[in-house]
């Protein structure tokens, strides 16, 4: 029943054992799913709770779980065990380097694709038809790529688990919203301001807590994130409470062209184009793409600086770091502040894009999603984080499109409900299956004679 593969001989497939496993797991699954899925509580007309019997569905699910377990025990585990014995020795340095080359090729191709993406979409779907693809997929995914890369500095490089990253995102968003509305400043002035304010908050929050150990730090950052959200809800004079702030000004094209329909220098009018919000979306797409690439560029450059090396050293072993004379507090604080700054940039972009901010956008789940992206991407790998963001955000956006599922599961089936469930499952499965994430290679930034890539599995992380 244990999901850990036992090291005993697996020459023959033990069908009896697998069958027993499957049956037991199926029974357990039914004991749990029976009440939770099989007996749905519903309110009737008199507002009383009644039970709706769906035990059949629960039974089907339990049988699926049991059969899955049987297949795992009978085929997958023996196969993994057999493969594990062979492949352990087979991973050579050359192979790892080849993998790194593939990664590099992939990132260049990806970059080119990202730049031509809106053009491609407009030529495929027309100006009006492009809005969905550029906005829902392009901009949405890129925001998370940027947030993932920002948080990657904190989690992936410095090894500090920050569960309250969304607080800095909120600081950025509210900074832009409030300053733009009350002082009529432009996005381009407020973008750096929002970043600085977020970094400032990062330092304020980071200063007292960074002496804490990893899991404590995680919980304290979570608490801070919640405190900021609760203050935003309750301090109504300042933030508008849970109603939020609406009609936040749009981004202008450096003050030359505006995307407001009523403005005299409207972009579409100036170029004698048909009025459409698609131009604004394309502009936002390139804006967030550049912001994300800025994040990536700065991260890559920082990694080559002493501070970046200190981050990675800190991640691997804090005690050794301290004994080698690195000021761990300052090192952590810079990671925290720089990560927060990018969160602030992304936040002000978010506010400008939505035109509306409310505390609802900055719940803990949002932090958890960003953490999930960083973790699934392999904590430290830029391309891994980007791929994870595409897979998770794009994948869940795609779920909305899957109308044919309604034919299979009935009219009431709403794939969107399963979004976070799948997110959580992916987090657990990836952790169990590949604790180092999708792309787990470690590339040392400082090296002797030649660059060697080390598999993440070979690195043991210390306390941090």
């Amino acid at each position: 029943m244990s999901s850990v593969v036992k090291s005993k001989d697996r020459a023959g497939i033990d069908f009896g054992r697998a069958l027993k496993d499957g049956v037991i797991i199926g029974i357990i699954a039914f004991a749990l799913l029976g009440p939770l899925v099989g007996l749905k509580t519903d309110q009737n007309m008199a507002n009383e709770l009644i039970l709706q019997n769906r035990l059949g569905l629960a039974a089907i699910l339990s049988v699926i779980v049991g059969v899955g377990r049987f297949l795992l025990s009978a085929f997958v585990y023996p196969w993994i065990a057999a493969r594990g014995n062979r492949s352990k020795a087979a991973v050579t340095l050359a192979e790892l380097e080849a993998r790194a080359r593939v990664t590099r090729g992939l990132s260049i191709t990806g970059l080119i694709f990202l730049f031509v993406y809106p053009i491609l979409i407009i030529s495929l779907f027309g100006v009006q038809g492009s809005i969905k693809w550029v906005d829902n997929y392009g901009v949405q995914i890129l925001i998370y790529v940027m947030l993932g890369w920002g948080l990657n500095i904190v989690i992936g490089l410095a090894g500090l688990l920050d569960l309250g990253y969304v607080a800095f995102y909120a600081v950025g968003a509210y900074s832009y919203a409030l300053l733009a509305i009350n002082f009529h400043l432009s996005f381009w002035v407020l973008l750096p301001v929002a970043g600085i304010l977020a970094a400032f908050w990062g330092i304020i929050l980071g200063f007292p807590v960074l002496r804490l150990r990893g899991d404590y730090l995680a919980i304290v950052t979570l608490a801070f994130g919640e405190i900021i959200r609760l203050v935003l809800i309750n301090w109504k004079d300042f933030s508008g409470g849970s109603a939020g702030i609406s009609s936040i000004p749009k981004v202008t094209m450096f003050g030359i062209y505006s995307f407001d329909v009523s403005a005299p220098n409207n972009f579409a009018k100036a170029f004698h184009l048909a009025a459409s919000s698609a131009y604004y979306k394309v502009f936002l797409y390139y804006l967030i793409l550049l912001l994300a690439l800025l994040t990536a560029f700065i991260t890559i450059r920082l990694r080559r600086l002493p501070i970046g090396r200190a981050w990675e050293a800190l991640r691997e072993d804090e005690v050794a770091c301290r004994s080698l004379g690195i000021n761990t507090t300052n090192t952590k604080l810079t990671a925290f502040a720089i990560g927060a700054m990018f969160g602030g940039f992304a936040g002000s972009f978010f506010a400008a894009r939505q035109g509306f901010v409310s505390p609802e956008s900055f719940i803990f789940m949002e932090s958890a999603v960003i953490v999930a992206i960083v973790v699934l991407g392999g904590m430290g790998s830029m391309i891994g984080v980007a791929l994870a963001a595409v897979a998770m955000i794009g994948g869940t956006e795609l779920l909305r499109e899957l109308d044919f599922l309604k034919l299979v599961f009935g009219k009431d089936f709403n794939p969107d409900q399963y979004r976070m469930l799948l997110f959580g499952l992916a987090m657990v499965i990836i952790m169990v299956w590949k604790p180092r994430g999708f792309v787990s290679a470690r590339q040392p930034t400082a090296f002797l004679f030649k660059r060697k890539t080390v598999s993440g599995d070979l690195v043991k992380e210390g306390h941090g």
Binding site: S3, L49, I50, I219, I227, F364, A372, Y418, M427
Partner: protein, 306 residues
């Protein structure tokens, strides 16, 4: 004065629930040094188990006696929640022993998301209200201003059940072989396994015991507030974790003490300072305690070893 006493009574009631949940956090942390982030959601799921079985008993079997129903529901919720957590531990935590340090925490966060969203999908996103189990209220005394100090039967039930359960739990930890094994594992896991203790099993049972206590808290939460919703795990979970940290994580009496203190602080803060910022108060306590007193009230200071 009457208001104060009334709020203390309410605070102790909520605090008992926090204490019961906090024990699960503190035991797991003590034995494998992991923050079981999903514990709050386990608590929420247990409340749903209780809700569903309460409905089964009352509407299908027509049990009229609420006392009997409550006891049955509590037992069923304990068993099923224990089973659930045992399965979670096997699937999501056990394979990660000896992996890098943040892996179990991240896996637990994933599990927490899975549990709350699973309930949302399976049971629907709405509040689930039940008719009040009992309406009995006793007036202790009436103040000069005519403000009565009340204690409800529900509150008495919560106090009594918590006290009984803590006594039983204390007996298990102090006097039984399982408790000895747990304490041995807490001190030195490797040595304990050399001495023939089944460490894996002990850890699983620790999770299960914590879950059973959370299930009792979940049942009583349902009974006390009369409503439960899929997102109810997060805030009580964080507050109970705060309680565990305040009392000194790893210390069992500390968890109960911390729970009572958090309950009292929260209700008194809500009464005298600001009801809006009630949760902010609880979260702030967590931050302040962790920064200035990471070992908590009854905990041992942690020594970092290389």
């Amino acid at each position: 004065m009457e208001v104060f006493v009334q709020q203390v009574i309410n605070g102790i009631t909520i605090g008992s629930l926090y204490g019961l949940i906090a024990i699960g956090y503190t035991m797991v942390f003590g034995i494998i040094g992991m923050v079981n982030f999903a514990h709050g959601d386990v608590f929420m799921v247990s409340a749903f188990f209780a809700l569903i079985f309460l409905l089964v008993l009352t509407s299908w079997f027509g049990i009229a006696s609420m006392t009997l129903a409550l006891i049955l529901v509590m037992v069923v919720a304990m068993v099923l929640t224990g089973l659930l957590v045992w399965a979670i531990e096997r699937i999501a935590y056990a394979p990660l022993r000896g992996s890098f340090r943040l892996a179990p925490l991240i896996s637990a966060i994933g599990m927490s998301i899975v549990l709350s969203n699973f309930i949302q999908v399976a049971q629907g996103p709405r509040n689930k209200p039940i008719p009040p189990v009992t309406r009995d209220v006793y007036t202790l005394w009436e103040g000069a201003s005519g403000y009565p100090v009340n204690i409800s039967l529900k509150q008495i039930i919560i106090w009594v059940v918590t006290a009984l359960l803590l006594a039983a739990f204390w007996y298990v930890v102090q006097k039984t072989a399982l408790g000895r094994a747990q304490r041995a594992c807490e001190q030195d896991r490797k040595m304990a396994s050399l001495l023939g203790i089944n460490v894996d099993r002990t850890i699983s049972l620790t999770f299960v015991i914590g879950a059973a206590l959370a299930a009792v808290a979940g049942t009583m939460f349902l009974m006390y507030y009369g409503v439960v919703v899929f997102s109810d795990g997060f805030t009580p979970g964080v507050k109970a974790f705060t309680a565990a940290v305040l009392g000194g994580i790893g210390s069992l009496p500390g968890a109960v003490l911390g729970g009572l203190l958090i309950g009292l602080i929260e209700t008194l803060w809500g009464q005298y300072v600001s009801a809006d910022y009630q949760n902010v108060a609880a979260f702030s306590i967590l931050v302040i305690v962790l920064i200035f007193m990471p070992q908590g009230l009854l905990g041992r200071p942690e020594v970092e070893k290389v």
